[in-house]
Amino acid sequence: MINGTFDLRGAETHIEVHKFRAGAVAAAAIFALVIQALLPVYFPKADILDLPLLVTIYFGLSRRNPSTGLLLGTIIGLLQDSLSKSPLGLYGIAKTIIGYVASSIGARLDTEHPIARFALTAVFFGLHQGVIVLIKRLLLAQPEAWFTTRLGIAAGLNALVAVFLFLLLDRLRKPSGSFP
């Protein structure tokens, strides 16, 4: 599983690359997928959340390595596809792109502040949805609206949940002093 740490070179070395406890990334991803599948059974309105997306964004922003970010996004997206009826690759492609973009942005900006996290998550949610709609329209010939009120609400709600979820996920980080 993708769980190593990579240093950034050149002008980006001033931004900290976070390392996580062993198995933390895999455990968080699986936990998010299970909760995503379970919550709507008991709370139907909870289907507005996309926890696997939030986990992809978080680890992308924290690890700041585009290659590992996009691969993590691919794995989470394909697993999400497997647990839904969407064709395998739909969420895979969307989360691959999100993983890559989040890692790339994370390597350039300090994304630790809650406001930055809120804004970035809302933007990533929109991008994620945009990619899905694009794939559905171009590859699957399924007409899908680019924007609905529900999507706007979902973007805000997911961003809000992300602020608190990211604080929880921060606890999975190894202390900075333990870097080799």
Binding site: G4, F6, D7, R9, I30, L33, V34, I35, Q36, A37, L38, L39, P40, V41, Y42, P44, D47, I48, L49, D50, P52, N65, P66, S67, L70, L71, T74, L78, L79, Q80, D81, S82, L83, S84, K85, S86, P87, L88, G89, L90, Y91, G92, I93, T96, I97, Y100, I132, I135, L139, L140, A154
Partner: protein, 300 residues
């Protein structure tokens, strides 16, 4: 130490991964009828967690209800005792009505008349992991005889059909999904048209010409023409009728509560079910009784 991929390399990797998945998508579209191994593996790996989670949720809810949510219990207890006395009186009246309702309920009739039809109770252990589709996972699978395209119902009405059967679990496409649907007819006018999902809580009845008369409150039942659902099961009730172009826009509220499913029944047969006809006199008596007990329905 792992070698650091350059920015250029990661872009190439991104393009490669996306292209592979796009090819993967294309292959699936051509071969959608075949089972997908990765889907089976993933569901097999995740469903134990879902079972555990469902069990855990049940326990936590039980603990919460029985131990923590006990504020004002004493006061409520006194009120409930008083209510209990009144309810005992009503109970005898309701018992006689319940017995009558049992005789009339279509689903009970269905079960009584089709004892030879194998049915299986199943528990809902998960929902779709994506936000757009309306599917659920059941804790019964191929080992219990569940197969693709089997009908799933509740005592209230039609739920959906099995779209994937795994060894220990199965995925159900709900009627409310955009790809969900059922052959249906209006119970009174006998207009026979498909009812499908829209991704919203309400269903739509399609292709009904504008010159047909449909009213809010009309009951919608299965027609049996889809060869999945047996005839005469409740699908829902018409809630809204609007003229459209070229067909009426008819919204239907599902009879089963598809947003809060915990237990369902899987009809373990892939053959069209033929309901045995009741004697005419019983049917007409039952219809009259049902009509007399129906609450007044709202008109648009």
């Amino acid at each position: 130490m792992v070698a650091i991929p350059s920015r250029h390399k990661s872009l190439v990797l991104l393009a490669g991964v996306v292209i592979v998945q796009m090819l993967f998508l294309a292959v699936q579209i051509k071969r959608d009828s075949q089972g997908r191994l990765i889907r089976s593996w993933t569901v097999g790996a995740i469903s134990p967690f879902e079972r555990t989670g469902a069990w855990g949720f049940g326990r936590i809810r039980g603990i919460w209800i029985h131990y923590f949510a006990l504020q004002n219990t004493s006061r409520e207890n006194e009120n409930l005792r008083r209510e209990n006395d009144a309810l005992k009186l009503q109970l005898d009246q309701l018992r006689s009505k319940a017995a009558e309702a049992d005789r009339l309920a279509p689903l009970i009739n269905f079960r009584q008349l089709n004892r030879n039809v194998p049915m299986l109770g199943a528990r809902v252990i998960g929902a779709s992991a994506d936000t757009a589709s309306h599917t659920i996972f059941l804790d019964r699978g191929e080992r219990e005889g569940v197969r693709r395209n089997m009908a799933v119902i509740t005592p209230d009405g039609v739920v959906g059909k099995i779209i994937e059967a795994f060894p220990n679990s199965a995925q159900v496409l709900l009627l409310t999904d955009k790809e969900g649907g059922v052959g249906a007819l209006l119970a009174d006018s006998r207009i026979q048209k498909p009812v499908g999902g829209t991704g919203e809580p309400l269903l739509v009845m399609k292709y009904v010409p504008n010159d047909e008369t449909v009213n809010a409150g009309d009951r919608v039942i299965t027609s049996g023409m889809d060869r999945i659902f047996p005839k005469d099961l409740p699908v829902g009730t018409v809630t809204e009728v609007k003229p459209g172009n070229p067909f009426k826009l008819i919204r239907v509220r599902p009879a089963a509560n598809l947003e809060r499913l915990e237990e369902v029944i899987v009809l373990l047969t892939l053959h069209p079910l033929e309901l045995r006809k009741e004697p005419e006199s019983r049917v007409s008596d039952a219809a009259e009784k049902t009509a007399s007990e129906q609450p007044p329905t709202a008109k648009p």
